[in-house]
Symmetry: C2
Subunit: 371 residues, 2 copies
């Protein structure tokens, strides 16, 4: 019962004394196969360590049993580090795929390069999961091309009307709203926003709009002096906070569009001698593992990555199978830790960051805006 090299279904057929077609049926659990036959075939297959050749079966069935994740990274980010939030998503997608019997291909895409990557056209994957914060405008046309080609895909990100393809995302507006309401409830009034609140980053824009909405509920006006643009890196967060501080306007809290931005902001604030949360409260977004190790531990808006991964996979699979599928907005969850100052005494007499505080504070090493 030794077969040189890898065994194939014909080898098994010979050994079992049946046709190759019957071997194939037995292995796939075709109901019409005689029970004794099936068991004999299965046993021989087991002994030979036989595995169906996926290339052959995929070629025949025109399916791949594989999904692909395309991870988009902002090219300005140091390419050795992925945003930790996407690591978490990746983990949950991988698990969801495995549970459903699909393999997962992963690919890091440079936004700059040509990318639809044609996993589906080349029959390497039945569908694509698109992950990443990038400039949305840059790749909208590419999404449209995917739709035009009939490629099956789902996108993680802002759920917008009139958007090509189907998106699954966190309710970013609700997240920005919750973070800001929480700060307001703690007595903060001069609340800033750090993030790239442009059309090109719809997730961040929605978080900003939630922030602005909460302020208006409290009859406050978002102050442009307390806002600065930042992509999702610690350095951008530090620079954005420096910029806001340099403007000298009063500030007692910061809502940050991501945890990396928030961690950068913490460093900048502390570098200026400001205490977090006593002088300036900070709230982040994503609840990456680092958030709880930040000092002080970062209050953050958590996205349910486990549920998100499952939804992305299940939704994509529905699309692949030609079923109806809906975009979904997942509710965010505010994780309250120390950086928002939730445990502090009543706020009225709290010192807040002013030009004075800024000038008297220790200078941090990296200063981008010389003013």
């Amino acid at each position: 019962m030794v077969v040189k090299g890898k065994a194939n279904s014909l080898d098994i057929a010979h050994l079992a004394g049946v046709s190759q077609a019957t071997v194939s049926r037995a292995l796939r659990g075709h109901p019409a196969v005689n029970r004794a036959t099936r068991e004999r075939v299965m046993e021989i297959a087991r002994q030979l360590n036989y595995q169906v050749d996926k290339n052959a079966s995929n070629l025949r069935t025109q399916q791949s049993g594989t999904l692909a994740v395309l991870l988009f990274e902002d090219p300005t980010v140091d390419d050795s580090s992925i945003n930790p939030f996407f690591h978490s998503m990746l983990g949950s997608i991988t698990r969801a795929c495995a549970q459903r019997g699909y393999d997962l291909l992963i690919s890091f895409q440079q936004l700059s390069r040509d990318w639809h990557a044609d996993y589906e056209d080349s029959h390497k994957a039945d569908g694509l999961i698109l992950l990443g914060y990038g400039d949305y405008r840059e790749y909208r046309s590419r999404l449209e091309a995917l739709v035009a080609q009939g490629t099956h895909f789902v996108r993680w990100g802002a759920v917008l009307a009139g958007q090509p393809g189907l998106s699954i995302g966190c309710d970013n507006h609700a997240g920005g709203l919750a973070a800001t309401r929480h700060l307001l409830s703690l007595g903060r009034r001069r609340i800033g926003f750090l993030g790239h609140a442009s059309q090109g980053a719809p997730e961040f824009l929605e978080r900003y709009q939630g922030y602005a909405c909460a302020l208006r509920e409290a009859e406050l006006t978002p102050d442009p002096l307390l806002q600065a643009e930042a992509i999702s890196t610690e350095q951008a967060g530090r620079e954005a906070a420096e910029l806001v501080l340099a403007r000298g306007a009063r500030l007692d809290a910061l809502v940050c569009a991501s945890d990396l931005i928030a961690i950068g902001a913490l460093r900048a604030l502390q570098g200026h001698g400001l205490r977090v949360p006593e002088d300036v409260a900070v709230v982040g977004y994503d609840d990456i593992p680092m958030a709880q190790y930040a000092h002080p531990a970062l209050t953050s808006v958590q996205q349910d990555t486990r549920r998100a991964g499952e939804l992305l996979v299940d939704t994509l699979l529905r699309l692949v199978h030609g079923e109806e599928a809906q975009p979904v907005k997942l509710p965010p969850l505010l994780m309250v830790r120390q950086s928002c100052g939730a445990g502090l005494p009543a706020p009225p007499t709290r010192r807040s960051a002013t030009v004075t505080a800024l000038r008297s504070g220790a200078r941090s090493g990296t200063r981008r805006t010389p003013r």
Copy 2:
């Protein structure tokens, strides 16, 4: 020039007025193809958005152009979080694969379940990369099965003699040595070790041996009272530190077999009112992103994940192509931050953790060993 559904090479052949074989040759860059012919074929392929069907070409060539990463997780770990160190490895492997024109399949393996996963037997991958800290003894027999089946694979981990297959790893002994020597050079003498220093976890064992070796160089003896077992989780680290503290022996530093263990230890020490690094210095291992956000920032032994990913991929590819390949031990790098107390004044008068300090310290919530 419209073809219904996906175009295949025969469609192109008709449009170009050549045989399908010529299309295949032109597309693959076969040198014998007439230049004008090739250009015509390429242009038509481009217009049709044609992609070679990988299932067909792989079936024909008996290759897959794909590698697979199998990530093993300790089943006791909360399955929503992967050790951050492996995230970093995954990122670098993904990039290395992409650069070399290979696709990457990823799969999370439960140690408990059947796993060789047969990616190679089923022709889904040309080779496997095995990643993970698990109980080595549990899967040694599986490695042997892979070798027996002629599967191509490389393993990340301890490079041991007589081990099945080929391993690429960090020089764990050198890492443990460097961490401990550093603490000794700062005047620490009562240095403990937290990690699972058994045969089942050879990486940790090697780190332990480096630790013990450094102590002996300094004419000190590793004290079993200052050692405790821990798998690589924060909780295990906290519990291990609690256990050591509960024994009441004097302690002025801890070498931890991973950063997660070290972060757990920090919490336990601080929960007992001990100051890090003044009372007890702590050094971790892996230099995960969180290390620098720990409080105090964690001194840690860094593994060069970028180089590691490249080496894993290149070595596996050599194996796949039937070339010679060698195991490699990468040199570690000690990243000095605050937790080791490098910036502190001379040590002789330093308070150290004693039974007294323990008893008087605040109690942390989680206590595993009631003694």
